[in-house]
Symmetry: C2
Subunit: 376 residues, 2 copies
């Protein structure tokens, strides 16, 4: 009998009440009914982002909103800083290149986080820098960046601070306004607990002012056009409105628990995963691990084999990408995850470690994880 557990860093498990919402009969998106749903979702998203800013919803995966965070605020040749510590930092670099920006790429070792002081020095040295692009969580390495400190540094300059929180929002702390994030990009298939297909972008007044002058070409991702219609709870083009309806349900779940409590739950579960793998003598890949996911090294073993063996038992985790391929597995306790999921993942990992001949004390991983959970 195969029973599946989804612990990949997105898409993550979707609660059954959200899935059932997706099975409801179709309705028209140009209707009072949709306007009501969209208005509710927009209000609830602001509570999750902890922002007063407008949030634009795009029918696109997270990369679409990342593109929107470039084309809406800049003009060809504009200077930007891109922070590149993994696959998703690379995406900012690729976007800046595709749109002909003058890019100062801050390349950091995979698994490390950027130094806010260094970014501050770069900004101080060149007041013509228009934007700083970074991640909250670099999903390829499981690393949490210090967005609060980075925000404080960028806020003092004319530049806007753009954060890809596709993986992080709801799992790691990110009060958008308090941390001075001008543009925050989020995806639907992570801690927001719905399927992929939507992405979101909050925009501060500082960023809207830049948008007025930005001349990079855009159409589908034009945020100013979307903002005008947002005021009427409408969208420029046909939205994936059934996903928005599903989001209305998952946001209710998140807000009922409370956004701070949701983040605290993620912190508790991630700490337990880290305690469990430490007891199995498996090192962490990241020097600054996130709640959203845990990147675990598999010394002396091919991580791809571990991943495949876990898959055989119905436990689905991600492997490493590029330079981390074969070296790590990535375990996400994200969104619809609780204490039981930690035990399932670690118990499964022990099963596989024994099968591949890795030496460890049976039960050490689950016991350490359980001890961590019982500490509260």
């Amino acid at each position: 009998m195969r029973k599946e557990y989804l612990y990949t860093p997105g898409p993550v498990a979707v609660p059954p009440e959200v899935l059932l919402k997706l099975a409801e009969p179709m309705y028209h998106h140009r209707s009072k009914r949709f306007q009501t749903v969209f208005s509710e979702v927009n209000e609830k998203l602001k509570q999750v982002f902890r922002t007063k800013n407008d949030i634009i919803t795009f029918t696109a995966s997270g990369t679409g909103a990342m593109e929107a965070a470039v084309v809406n605020f800049l003009s060809p040749g504009d200077k930007v800083i891109t922070i590149n510590g993994g696959k998703f930092g690379e995406r900012w670099v690729g976007l800046a290149k595709a749109y002909g920006l003058a890019q100062h790429e801050v390349k950091i070792t995979w698994g490390t986080a950027p130094d806010p002081e260094e970014i501050g020095k770069l900004l101080a040295a060149d007041s013509s820098i228009k934007a700083v692009y970074t991640q909250l969580v670099e999903t390829s390495t499981g690393t949490l960046y210090d967005v609060q400190a980075l925000g404080a540094v960028v806020a003092k300059t004319p530049a806007i601070f753009v954060v890809d929180a596709i993986s992080g929002m709801g799992a790691d702390d990110l009060p958008v306004d308090a941390w001075q994030v001008d543009v925050c990009v989020v995806g639907s298939q992570k801690a927001l607990m719905i399927p992929p297909g939507l992405s979101f972008m909050s925009v501060s007044e500082k960023a809207w002012a830049m948008a007025e002058k930005a001349t990079l070409p855009k159409y589908y991702f034009d945020a100013r056009k979307a903002r005008k219609l947002l005021a009427k709870n409408d969208t420029p083009y046909t939205p994936a409105h059934t996903l928005i309806g599903a989001l209305n349900v998952s946001l209710d779940m998140i807000l009922k628990e409370g956004i701070e409590a949701v983040v605290a739950r993620h912190a508790r579960l991630a700490a337990a995963v880290r305690a469990g793998v430490a007891a199995l003598n498996l090192p962490l890949y990241s020097k600054r691990p996130a709640n959203a996911l845990t990147a675990v090294e598999t010394p002396g073993m091919d991580a791809e084999v571990i991943k495949k063996e876990l898959d055989k038992d119905g436990i689905l985790v991600a492997g490493g990408q590029d330079e981390a391929k074969g070296k790590i597995i990535r375990i996400a306790m994200m969104g619809y995850a609780n204490e039981a999921d930690v035990m399932i993942a670690l118990a499964g990992l022990e099963q596989v470690l024994q099968r591949v001949g890795y030496a460890f004390t049976p039960g050490a991983g689950v016991a350490a994880a359980q001890a961590s959970l019982l500490k509260g």
Copy 2:
């Protein structure tokens, strides 16, 4: 008791077996399971498009694929012809403007179709024209364009022929290869019978050759990047894979009936709607009506009132846009629609017409529609 019938020109009703597919537990998109689904969908889409060309799937609404049909094939300043006979023609015009193309806009009266000979003359007069952008069905007017004749004209030139078949594919005839369509854009929420969130673009070898030289900036909608991954049944960014899974089910339904039979069904239902409204002395708005939807004038009555009254009875149709607002209702028998739906829509329309004091022979509409259906 409210019982709803969705006859808007997209989103259209989604079959229950497709809706239930959307309620299945989440799974990871970087997996054999998704590759198998995507490979099946890609093969089936080609049968529906009747093309040998690659079809790129975008997680975006139809406008996203329209943008892809611009940015992938052209460079700034390139000359194009845009045919503008309604809201969706206007979208090509807006895209060409946003991306700095040298545009010859062929503006035609709403409700009419472009003259292929005129387009031929324009192309003959300027061999530097790179592309012709048009619709199969202009959804704002319910008008079918002569794509076959336009295709024959464009094929003789170096220009590529780009057709927005978002509303038309599966409802009106469009054998992509036989009619020499280089780039064909389709949406998910119309005759393909799934919710909004996906769009598709088929690309001919003539168009791929242009893509090699095209310098317009692009990232999310980069078709060449998508094509490379398509060969491995993969996508550049997280796709809305649960919608792709739903599409696999709806495509099975379409192919089981047969694409020619599906189009013939749409033709039969649209003919019955036209017969019904003719018997009620309601003129058609279009000089060349499509199968996908029927735009019906409401002389002496505010069409928005008719639409709202129909809505009260659970019958959902669209009104007119811009210059057609208040003048027409648009009734779509698209996708998951059969003979019963025609009777429901016309019976409902008669109920409303009587309520607003319009003079007609009770039952004339349904009788004429039924007579049309019984002719086969």
